[in-house]
Symmetry: C2
């Protein structure tokens, strides 16, 4: 339901969504496979240190914990009420939650507005608003944070620690991102599935992310914005400090219907250009594909914004250099020739490549490049005051020492980090490149397995540089 | 150097490039790190069964093998001459190769046309053409085939066996593809780096691939086409039987220069639209990014072409459904609603989903979907004569049995493969999804970690369906 501005009482209570001292799980189940079972299992498995109160009128114990017939019977205070009961019972549970003075309600239950029960959903929302009980969901998967060992929902993973706050309307895509996080060192600060977002909306979690000390990029997966004004307002006040990324789906003809069927998102009459405009006004960086969404989020979370187009690419693969410069141009940020960036640098870098290498930019130090060549070329580039970002690239020829080059890249990054120049890496190949990517990400360097992904990341850093300039005026 | 048609004597001799009974390695080295060392090491390591003759005027033995001062001193016949000596010595080596009646010359040596020595390169080419000795390279990384245990060049991997022939002008990108092959079950039939392609050109390897029984998709990485007529002619005669994929780089402003510096490719005066036209005439499917290049190649290699737009997507993730239908529309192949494809199927599929699922298409059988639900829904879809392709998708919710769903998908595929309907899968998430992808690929089903990649694959199968129709007329 519509809000015009992010509400203070909601933002203030969101800390109970991610860091509650106590949780009542209503619909707690003794049966594996049920949401009300999985949520307690997940809380325990990932190390939740607060108190869990199972609520189940037909059980004495659930997961070895004493079960209560209703929330109101629980002896201590309850911060978060997690609801996993059938739709027709939800209203009663919310009344109990209000009576109990719970701080936040989280509704996993589906079958509301997305199947035509909009009136019922609005009624619940209005009730919660009247009683100042923020409601997250319904039709949601859960939330959590690796920094708080908190995994609340039916969620098989916790992500690895890192800079990206992921606010997603889709549960499944959120889970996909969490899986990717573990597998590919995609670090997150916290995550939440908003589902139908009947009450708590993007804007309020964005405002929460602005204050969260572990969050350096706020990434949103959007199926529909019910409250674009609140969204824009929240973003405009965040983006001078932290970047916001959005992927917006449901813009296609069939997508309009699918988005409604999924999370009751209303896209009828809007289109992609409409959202482009909202994001432009809001200072939000829009991603098109899921891969791009993850890739640019990671870069924006790990690296400072890019201040100019003076990116120097240093590669041992002419092919990945070409894929990169074509893609830069496709993304409207053409590479500049090294001689135009810094004529002196051309000669300095030439000392670190064979005669058949090319100091054009991409700087092709050739397939025979040694770790020493990499070190020399990259050090020269980062030291040059005209250069504003380093884009390293490595292809595994049979004479390439991927691991040594990776370590050198990390060393140089650590040495010159104080200059505030973004470092990005591309390692295109097999297992040793995958290991390099994992290691680089762990050390705070966004690294990718294809040139186009790395380029998208750099383009996003440039976009954020421009957004900061604009919104800090 | 220009050719107008693929030459028969060249095509006939290409079998000696991939399956030679004997190889002379000129510039064979005793020192690790040298190309002339790596090539013999690679041949031995990957199980080459033919005879290797090291040629080195200053060594008695190389890699434990008797070394010869020149090719002409070698006692037995020589099929392939691999040249890894400095540029100024290459002419002499080629003269020896002609004297020895070698079948093919492969020149790894760099520093020819790409650094301005076009005259020297043309001279070598003309000499080889006058003597009917096909020359591959110079400035190339090598070639090989997993089916022949053959790895000839400075190449750290052999790919896994599979349907894609990879013909690449860039060595580094070829190596990247080979690394990906091992890590992600991207199967290849053979591979070759063409380098500067002074003599042997794309067209001739494409014609060779047409006859190779393990090849089901011919994929080309192109920095510049010197002989577009020969290329078009080769493709036009192949595409009624096998698909050809191309990625063309060097179209950007700086890319024109970089492509010349890399492989002496001349793109001045051409542009991307020019190549679009060539590929259109040739019946070639063009990929834009490296990831797309790999993804569509795999799908075209593993699956039959798609005959209509009647693709049914079955997913447990509304989010990946939305990403998919938006991307289909972006790629100009909008999804059709299930009720428009087959009204009966809507009811049949509804039996396998909860009430909050959606039979729209994407068919969202919901995050609670069991392996049984998947089995029922997919079986109903594949049996429906109106449905022409199955697009399965799985997101790991905490109740999803990814492994069981994967096995069911493979079983259904095996049962209904005879119908000639493409099966594609998307598994978006962590390690268990990666395992599913690996297993599906091994069983001949193109599987991908993001929805847009799977959609690109399906769109390519549709394109190839249309190309076959057009070129079989």
């Amino acid at each position: 339901m519509k809000i015009n501005v992010p509400r203070k009482y909601v933002i203030d209570n969101l800390k109970y969504a991610l860091n509650p001292a106590s949780i009542a799980v209503v619909g707690a189940s003794r049966y594996d496979g049920k949401v009300g079972y999985k949520v307690i299992e997940g809380l325990n498995k990932w190390g939740y240190k607060g108190t869990i109160y199972p609520v189940n009128p037909r059980a004495e114990k659930v997961h070895g914990l004493k079960a209560y017939k209703t929330i109101t019977e629980i002896p201590g205070p309850v911060d978060l009420v997690f609801v996993a009961v059938p739709a027709h019972l939800v209203k009663m549970i919310l009344e109990h939650a209000v009576t109990k003075k719970a701080k936040i309600a989280v509704i996993a239950t589906s079958a509301f507005k997305e199947i035509g029960r909009g009136v019922l959903q609005d009624e619940l929302t209005q009730y919660c608003r009247d009683n100042k009980l923020p409601l997250i969901g319904p039709n949601l998967v859960g939330m959590g944070s690796p920094y708080l060992n908190f995994n609340c929902g039916f969620i098989p993973y916790l992500p690895v620690e890192g800079p990206v706050a992921m606010i997603s309307q889709s549960g499944a895509n959120l889970l996909a991102a969490l899986g990717t996080s573990q597998m590919l060192n995609f670090g997150m600060s916290f995550f939440v599935g908003l589902g139908n977002k009947a009450d708590v909306d993007f804007s309020e979690f964005i405002a929460y992310g602005a204050e969260d000390k572990n969050t350096h990029c706020i990434s949103t997966y959007i199926e529909g914005l019910d409250c674009p004004e609140a969204f824009m307002q929240a973003c405009q006040s965040v983006v001078p400090k932290k970047p916001v990324v959005a992927i917006k789906v449901g813009g296609s003809q069939i997508g309009v219907k699918a988005a409604f069927a999924h999370t009751a998102s209303e896209n009828e009459g809007t289109n992609d250009a409409h959202y482009d405009e909202i994001f432009e006004k809001a200072g939000v960086i829009r991603a098109t594909t899921w891969q791009e969404f993850l890739d640019v989020s990671l870069a924006l979370g790990l690296q400072p914004p890019l201040k100019s187009d003076n990116v120097v690419m240093i590669t041992n693969g002419g092919g990945s250099g070409l894929l990169s410069c074509d893609h830069f141009e496709r993304m409207n940020m053409p590479m500049r020739e090294l001689k135009d960036i810094s004529p002196q640098l051309v000669d300095r870098i030439r000392a670190y490549m064979p005669m058949f290498g090319s100091p054009l930019n991409p700087v092709d130090i050739s397939g025979t490049a040694s770790p020493k060549n990499y070190k020399g070329a990259i050090t020269q580039a980062v030291r040059d005051p005209k250069v504003d970002a380093i884009y390293g690239s490595i292809c595994p020829t049979s004479v390439t020492d991927v691991s040594a080059v990776t370590n050198i890249y990390i060393d140089i990054y650590d040495t010159y980090k104080y200059l505030g120049k973004p470092f990005i890496m591309e390692a295109q190949g097999g297992e040793e490149c995958n290991e390099a990517i994992m290691k680089l990400r762990k050390h705070g360097i966004p690294a990718y397995p294809t040139p186009e992904q790395a380029v998208n990341a750099i383009v996003a850093l440039r976009k954020y540089g421009k957004i900061k300039e604009k919104f800090n005026k």
